[in-house]
């Protein structure tokens, strides 16, 4: 009888030990999974998203929002469109509608310091003024894209967002730059 009781105790202990191990692994896995998804969706703790490059941000926005005749403005052409002190840029990425038919434009500047964002913001606001002058009479139907909320600053980042869903693009931008 004592032997049976001892066996039951041992079995119970083994089960408990195994259960604890499994729960531990499961917990660890869940944690890893959460961390992974956080990194992808850029979420809330900001630890990963704070390191998001400008290219990662434009990639994410362009994956979510339609952008006609997309043409990348690579660094060798950046000065033609944006006047920025290159030494103050941490990362940069920009796209424009290549056909000239639509005002769509997306540019993200990650500056080395938040002190450098003001000059970029001012420069981009002038760019918006220029595009407004160009498109307001030419394609009035497209002017909803130039809605006055096209330059967004978040931390060290400044974005020019002119697209079919500025609100969604801005939301993505802010979520990645918290």
């Amino acid at each position: 009888m004592k032997i049976n009781v001892t066996k039951k105790i041992i079995a119970g202990l083994i089960c408990a030990a195994v259960a604890i191990c499994v729960c531990g692994c499961s917990s660890g896995t869940a944690s890893d999974s959460t961390a992974s998804s956080t990194a992808e969706s850029s979420s809330d703790n900001g630890s990963v998203s704070s390191a998001a490059s400008a290219e990662e941000i434009t990639d994410k926005i362009l994956a979510e929002i339609e952008f006609p005749s997309k043409s990348e403005i690579k660094e060798d052409r950046r000065d033609d469109f944006y006047e920025v002190d290159i030494d103050k840029i941490e990362s940069y990425s920009a796209y424009i509608c290549g056909s000239g038919a639509y005002p769509d434009e997306l540019a993200v500047f990650c500056m080395k310091s938040s002190n450098d964002t003001t000059a970029v913001k001012d420069m981009l606001e002038k760019r918006v003024e220029k595009q407004t002058a160009s498109f307001k009479d030419y394609t009035p139907d497209e002017m909803y894209k130039i809605d006055g909320n096209n330059v967004v600053v978040s931390g060290n980042y400044v974005a020019l967002i002119i697209c079919s869903d500025n609100a969604k693009a801005t939301e993505i931008f802010k979520s990645l730059t918290k």
């Binding site: 083994i14 089960c15 896995t29 999974s33 992974s36 998804s37 997309k70 052409r77 000239g100 038919a101």
Partner: protein, 292 residues
């Protein structure tokens, strides 16, 4: 007891697998972020062809619009498929007309245009927006027209100033899309003649004037701007006559972009049925290189 422990182990192993599975299921999400990286529309993504053009007009003797009929003789890539289908499915209704496939070449040397200046409207801005031509070699903006090019400015720079400063050796002009339908075509053609003569008075550059591109049937019907196929054809005809009175060369680029029905080839136009696709600029530059 042992059976109980074994059962527990089996169940727990199953759970463990399930967890692993759920983790691996999430992996594709990570790669999807990478795979959704945007693809730029550049030469590498555009159709390339080395086919020799036999239907494009010759520079010195611009071919009449009858050239369009030659394009109708180009083989239609899907015609054989249509024949096969018709034979195997005789009960099916006759399909809609098969789209023609253009065969104009797209190869060009960018350096050929180092001493060039392109004058035009929003269509011409695409040359630098897509990155095919340096922005400094493009004098273009939205809404520019034959009647305004001489007196307008682009970013504060007049055309006269631009030409005197840059001293281009080749000047390409493509203007009229913003005006055809609104203004009298005779007047527009005379404005182009005046524009060419004015440029000739300040520059020794060789001047090439391009016929304006076609539109799609959809654009013709939906746009409230009278930019119709017939108006475009008339303007281009009058433009050719007007330019023949100058020392400029008329280039019938319109025919390169136009299918046998008189409208844009599907491959060449932007969604609005008026502007160019990225690949169309390659066709344009290849055409200009070969005819200037």
């Amino acid at each position: 007891m042992l059976a109980i422990i074994c059962s527990l182990s089996v169940i727990l192993c199953g759970c463990s697998d399930a967890v692993s599975s759920s983790v691996s299921d999430s992996a594709p999400d990570t790669s999807s972020v990478t795979s959704t990286a945007p693809q730029t529309t550049h030469a590498t993504t555009l159709p390339q062809t080395t086919t020799t053009v036999t239907t494009v007009p010759v520079t010195e003797e611009p071919v009449q619009t009858e050239l369009t009929t030659e394009q109708t003789e180009q083989p239609e890539t899907q015609s054989s498929e249509y024949t096969d289908s018709a034979e195997t499915e005789p009960q099916s209704e006759p399909p809609a007309s098969q789209p023609e496939t253009p065969s104009a070449p797209t190869d060009f040397e960018e350096s050929f245009f180092d001493d060039a200046l392109f004058i035009g409207d929003s269509i011409t801005t695409g040359l630098y927006l897509y990155g095919y031509i340096d922005m400094s070699k493009v004098y273009a903006k939205m809404g520019l027209a034959p009647s305004t090019a001489l007196y307008s400015d682009v970013d504060g720079v007049t055309l006269e100033s631009k030409i005197k400063t840059d001293k281009p050796k080749k000047i390409y002009i493509m203007l009229g899309t913003n005006s055809v339908g609104y203004s009298d075509n005779d007047y527009l053609a005379s404005c182009m003649e005046e524009l060419v003569n004015s440029i000739s008075s300040i520059s020794k550059a060789k001047i090439y004037v391009l016929s304006i591109p076609p539109v799609t049937a959809y654009a013709e019907a939906s746009y409230d701007n009278y930019l119709s196929k017939s108006a475009i054809d008339e303007y281009n005809r009058l433009l050719k006559t007007a330019i023949s009175k100058t020392n400029a060369v008329f280039l019938d680029f319109h025919s390169v972009l136009t299918a046998s029905d008189g409208y844009y080839y599907e491959e060449y136009h932007e969604m609005d049925g008026i502007h160019f696709m990225g690949s169309t600029y390659q066709v344009m530059l290849s055409f200009l290189e070969k005819h200037s």
